[in-house]
């Protein structure tokens, strides 16, 4: 469950899942929608795959990703998307680093 929360807490990964709702896509097709480096994108795919939210299949030279969400994961995705989960996580991180700075 922790891996699923971790995977869904990132807006880029959530956007990947939204894109895959329409149809399975190759890594290149997905990467076109983002302005991030290839290794970063691969890391995002790895996190999603590890959480079991997507499956990958090698088709020729490219890797095709397909969505694999359960009902609860789908609900969690909608919830996190709707409430801007990363904003909360970001402010929590900011609070945490401010606290650390104070103690130093």
């Amino acid at each position: 469950m922790t891996t699923v929360f971790k995977a869904l807490s990132d807006p880029t990964r959530r956007k990947v899942l939204q894109l895959l709702r329409k149809r399975p896509m190759s890594a290149g097709e997905i990467a076109e929608h983002f302005q991030v480096s290839k290794p970063t994108m691969s890391a995002h795919f790895a996190v999603l795959r590890e959480a079991g939210l997507i499956v990958s299949e090698k088709q020729g030279k490219s890797v095709v990703y397909e969505l694999q969400l359960s009902v609860l994961e789908d609900a969690m995705l909608a919830f996190m998307q709707g409430f801007g989960w990363e904003r909360g996580a970001r402010s929590a991180r900011a609070r945490h680093s401010a606290k650390e700075a104070q103690t130093r």
Binding site: R21, K22, R23, P24, G52, E57, E66, L67, Q68, L69, S70, V71, L72, D74
Partner: protein
């Protein structure tokens, strides 16, 4: 395939609990009301477990053609089963037994019927692409679909027989209905597997 094990284990565990409750009731350890509510709640949990994992198992399994439509039907079925399970659990836990006896079957049979109609419609309008998709599937997808089909037929069987049992007052008629439903479901399951296999090999091979 590894991720499909939890729903299968959950399904078997719930079946074991249902059997244990039925045996306990027969032995006079628990009363009829408790047995009714416990078995009903187990059926509801079966629907929740199967519904939750259904979209992950991709029972209709389109990989080419109108994927969005097919995946949408699978997602709708998952949500419908999940919500139906929650509704059934609430009925079995909180509604008086006399009322639950006729409300629960309506909800269960209605839900199964809706999913069936939606899938028939989806398979019908995507029929040319789905044959191609079925042929292009790898072994893991086929195994996943087989497991999904087994779980779905198992759940449908439990829902229909439980509904018949709750609705029918006459025990002798109930026994014959039960026997006919076993025969009907076995035939339907065999036909379903044959169609899946036929589509995989292609209609002309």
């Amino acid at each position: 395939m590894k991720r499909m094990i939890p729903p299968a284990i959950g399904f078997l565990l719930l079946t074991a609990v249902m059997l244990a409750v039925a045996l306990a009731h027969r032995a006079g350890i628990v009363d009829a009301t408790f047995a009714f509510r416990a078995i009903g709640t187990c059926v509801a949990l079966m629907a929740i477990v199967t519904g939750n994992f259904l979209p992950k198992m991709r029972p209709l399994g389109a990989t080419t053609g109108d994927i969005e439509r097919v995946a949408g039907a699978e997602r709708r079925a998952g949500w419908l089963l999940f919500l139906m399970g929650l509704g059934l659990a609430a009925i079995f836990l909180f509604v008086p037994v006399a009322a639950a006896r006729w409300i629960a079957p309506i909800v269960a049979l209605g839900g199964v019927g809706l999913i069936e109609l939606d899938w028939i419609w989806t398979v019908w309008i995507t029929r040319s692409a789905s044959g191609e998709a079925a042929r292009s599937q790898d072994g893991t997808s086929r195994e996943r679909r087989r497991l999904a089909a087994g779980l779905l037929f198992g759940l449908a069987y439990v829902l229909v027989t439980a509904s018949l049992k709750f609705l029918a007052e006459d025990t002798s008629r109930l026994r014959s209905l039960g026997a006919w439903s076993i025969v009907g479901f076995s035939i339907a399951y065999a036909v379903f597997l044959a169609v899946v296999d036929f589509r995989r090999r292609g209609w002309h091979s």
